[in-house]
Subunit: 365 residues, 2 copies
Amino acid sequence: MTGVKQRKDAISIAGLALHLGLSEGTISRALNNYPDIAEKTRKRVRDAANELGYQPSSTARRLARGVVETVGFVLPSRRDHLSDPFLSEILDGLAAELAMSGWDLLLAAVPDGQDEVEVMDRLVRSGKIGAFAVTRVKRSDPRVDYLRTAGVPFVVHGRTSKHSDYSWLDVDNEKAFVDAVNFLIGLGHKNIALLGGDLKMNFAWQRREGFQKAMSDAGLETPPDYIVDGISDGMGALEAMATLLALPSRPTAVVCVTDAVAIGAIHAIQKAGLKAGHDVSVVGYDGLPMGRATEPALTTMSQASYEAGREVARMLLEAVRQKNIKSLNKEIPQILWEAKLTLRASANPPVSNPANKSHREETKK
Amino acid sequence: MTGVKQRKDAISIAGLALHLGLSEGTISRALNNYPDIAEKTRKRVRDAANELGYQPSSTARRLARGVVETVGFVLPSRRDHLSDPFLSEILDGLAAELAMSGWDLLLAAVPDGQDEVEVMDRLVRSGKIGAFAVTRVKRSDPRVDYLRTAGVPFVVHGRTSKHSDYSWLDVDNEKAFVDAVNFLIGLGHKNIALLGGDLKMNFAWQRREGFQKAMSDAGLETPPDYIVDGISDGMGALEAMATLLALPSRPTAVVCVTDAVAIGAIHAIQKAGLKAGHDVSVVGYDGLPMGRATEPALTTMSQASYEAGREVARMLLEAVRQKNIKSLNKEIPQILWEAKLTLRASANPPVSNPANKSHREETKK
DNA sequence: TTGTATGCGTTATCAT
DNA sequence: ATGATAACGCATACAA
């Protein structure tokens, strides 16, 4: 498949030179703000460029300078990314921030029969990209392993279990779930369950860790039945919550790995003839818009995906700069953001065991 | 901001030539399957290329061939795209299909203070892209107006109100809503309301048209109160549905412009102490995964966004081919897909007015 | 302050 | 069947 002729009617630097009676070199330097160009000439060139709609060929510029101002983003292979509601938000943030520095964002899918690393490697070797952004990392992630050795600047949104030697932006998922559980404990809950996600995903693992930490720090028992892993969508949540509700001693509250799971849980509770936020409290994570429209509205932890995308882009640009300077003091920015709790109606004191303020105090460490 | 040195350790065609004792030209032709290369040589070159991991510089190739095998996609400006759950699906489909032909997908955001057309124009003039894909079009859409005159191949997912002269793939939204309404009528409903969307968006307009057509074809009244426009999320749905339920004569069924709206409606019904799917039937549109986990599970119309992305990519590639051939018989592929109804639990015969089979037959035209 | 010349890594058009 | 050589459009070192 052959592409389309580039820039149909586009004017090149040669055309501009002709038009102005200047040499191509002068035009180039004028437009790139070289100090050795007369202000008057620069203005003349600028004006003509604007007037004629001159836009330097990105391709030629890349070839001449040997640089590629493009960030690659490999879409999670289809079988994995069971509806990430925030993918487009992150991409939006990435693209927006990159655009401010004239960088582009290249999206790549993984064809059947290939894996993500192959795709990334081809992108690098063909010179299509100069840096990578990676999201939704597993605890052990081949993409990160590859990038560690590839010599391409990259920033990870999230982190792997071993994460000391590369740059990442993550949310403190563990703390988020510690906070969520402590919030419920503060309300008076003792029988708290977890609807957890795929433990290969690090965010799910971290959230589970936070759950367990908070429970054990508070000296609360967690029966094995109360921890359900591997839930990835509302349907899974529906079943898991039904099972939880059928337990001889059912929980008075559930913390859910995502809002999608939490909303499924809410419906399971309703289906069982109980009232979410009354008989069973529910806390989610994500801040999905829909959580405001559920009945009851969903109490949830949240992070700003769009902002995360922007920050990752900034880190990426900085990583590229560092690399070019070949500075010896290796700066490896690692940023941990906190999720914040959005109080709504789905979490309240347990009916049989009203909030116990003093107890709450005790569990705060 | 300066980019990263391209392809650190990458081997170039010159290196390969040296390694093999052949000229660069021969290597190039061998790898590009020119017929005038000895099979034996071709194999030798291929093997060496594989072994050394040679990958032609995409940049140099573009410059030499004057073609850009990259599709541009401008993200809807942030204020508009109130959570399009399918954006990432479409992008995924686009990228996947494009990759099969060696094409790339470039994502661009719209910086503050600029509009989408400016961004698109710059992408074209800088030679970064050779074609465009556009989604979520308004009835009158400046992006389409621009592309019509820009000379760049493009395909629209959806269509504007005037759409005879460009290539698009759309779902027959009108028919979808005719079907949805007829389905409800078949169940015995007569008092059917519409929770509609932003009428500037063509899909919302089309769905509304379908609703009205089906109602009037069936000879059913639709009080003005029964049609609510401009709902874009679950929150809006919550309020609108509450208003609908407070009406002296409340509807026995509502058709919703999206699943997000439908789910909001379900919760409003529940909040009002009624039962969705019993007191009020609800039909959505989108086939959101979460619709399977609501209580009751959501009856909805759906289309496959991923597949749509792939099809748009195919049409794009074909448009590029047509343009290169400069064929005189202008093929303008326009494809209309049908949404299919997914029966679940949220739509049933009205309680006070059980299904009337004969009536259903009558309304089928 | 400006012009000239070379190179970036390919492809494509000539020769040979 | 293969090897020179000239573009492609720009950036930059070096002259002037």
